[in-house]
Symmetry: C2
Subunit: 138 residues, 2 copies
DNA sequence: ACTAGTGTACTATCTGTACTAGTACACTAG
DNA sequence: CTAGTGTACTAGTACAGATAGTACACTAGT
């Protein structure tokens, strides 16, 4: 029986995001940084609910969404596991996502007094750091 | 009496953002690109409501938020005007906003198969284009 | 003084979403 | 058979968003 991995996520009451989305985003990050490897077993719906002191249905909803995104695999009676990495999105869909994410970022920063170069350098640093964390775990 | 400027925004029913936020973001962009200049008069609450086919209270809420952000000035009995540009946020708050915006962007793109360099170059292009649009109007 | 147009603010109602609580069922390994 | 697992459903509550309606203060023009 695979050992359950601990996942380092928590719910912030001040966070504007709904609880289930904070779980989704937290697990996505743990996988992207390599803290959760393929095949790793996640805490059960009920266990994570207890750990985060929230309702099990909320956890189930988050796990359901991550499964739909292809990041997790669910096995009835066995548990939830990290799926093998596999690009689920077409090239076209990825381009669209990049475009939308860029629009949101531009919208967020358009009134800040930072140069475009400064902001994109800052972002590049974050992106490279994320990539590096993943490589250090593989 | 100042002539009312037309504002090129519309409400997308498929957009996940609430209607009032779409108005806020749309006007912010019009100002940032120079399409709306300081001193320009915006359509009244009732006029924009008719134009967008939404409730006047929804427009008032959007205008209220833009006024709070310092982008618009409201004059009772006269109308709503574009304010003189003025940075309302401290250096610290701006740094925090950049950090949060970056986190959201990273979260949005972490599973796309684009290199960090590619994505930040794409973003830089968008940011420079925005800046250029504003300069062309001044 | 009156009118039309303006912003602001309030109450009430409805809808959709998020979350919780509870329950039940199918699957699995021991 | 049991304990633990995921999945799915109903019901209830709370909140955010939007609408409809109304009222009041301000302003410029006549």
């Amino acid at each position: 029986m695979a050992k359950t991995s601990a996942i380092a996520i928590q719910i912030a009451t001040g966070d504007a995001r709904p609880i289930f989305r904070q779980i989704v985003d937290g697990i996505r990050k743990e996988i992207a940084t390599g803290n959760l490897q393929s095949g790793a077993k996640l805490p059960s719906v009920r266990a994570l609910a207890l750990q985060l002191m929230i309702n099990a249905n909320t956890v189930a909803k988050a796990y359901g969404e991550l499964t739909a995104q292809g990041l997790l695999e669910s096995r009835k009676g066995l548990g939830i596991f990290v799926a093998e990495p596999k690009q689920m999105l077409s090239e076209e869909e990825q381009q669209l996502r990049l475009q939308e994410a860029s629009e949101r970022f531009v919208n967020d920063v358009m009134y800040l007094d930072f140069s475009p170069e400064h902001m994109t350098q800052y972002l590049l640093k974050q992106l490279l750091q994320l990539q590096q964390k993943d490589e250090n775990k593989s």
